[in-house]
Amino acid sequence: AQSVAQPEDQVNVAEGNPLTVKCTYSVSGNPYLFWYVQYPNRGLQFLLKYITGDNLVKGSYGFEAEFNKSQTSFHLKKPSALVSDSALYFCAVRDSLTGGFKTIFGAGTRLFVKA
């Protein structure tokens, strides 16, 4: 069965510093990986996805994520954090072999960017 873990409940970073939000996954086949962001009282917004190809994928608002097959990770990164990046971030995975079209979400990581 597919699963996804976000080991950090909260990440704190100063504005202008690089940020990393961690995600690890478990699937039987090939993973399809996604990052979503949720601002207060808003629905989830799609940030980026990895399906195949280049391990570094670029998404919205300057975010990128690196797929690492050997470590089964898909960490979200941004070179320079903004206060406006403060939000709840969700990693999600689909299993190409057994998951059908079901997307499993992690529990979320709250990012605080301090001015």
Partner: protein, 115 residues
């Protein structure tokens, strides 16, 4: 393009009462999902529709939850009778095609409080 519309935004009911949520997906999106997001957790899929047919309802508590998408466009999710543990945000999402490679577009959600 208009986003995924959901109503109401908030609902407070007493346990054992019934409640219904409405979702209108992005025009042309054939696939529609209902997710339940309990505070502090990631979204959990309740049901997935492809046009007006159910693709996956394996995690829908069918003794109290029901959902329909009669004309393959908007959808209604109902809870009857509600329990305290149903307090959550109910998110509707849609995607253009039923493909593992596509991200979803989420609505802002309906926050349900059962007292």
């Amino acid at each position: 393009e208009a986003g995924v519309a959901q109503s109401p935004r908030y609902k407070i009911i007493e346990k054992r009462q019934s409640v219904a949520f409405w979702c209108n997906p992005i025009s042309g999106h054939a696939t529609l999902y209902w997710y339940q997001q309990i505070l502090g957790q990631g979204p959990k899929l309740l049901i997935q529709f492809q046009n007006n047919g159910v693709v996956d309802d394996s995690q829908l508590p069918k003794d109290r939850f029901s959902a329909e998408r009669l004309k393959g466009v908007d959808s209604t999710l109902k809870i009857q009778p509600a329990k305290l543990e149903d307090s959550a945000v109910y998110l509707c999402a849609s995607s253009l095609v039923q493909s593992q490679a596509y991200g979803y577009t989420f609505g802002s959600g309906t926050r349900l409080t059962v007292v």
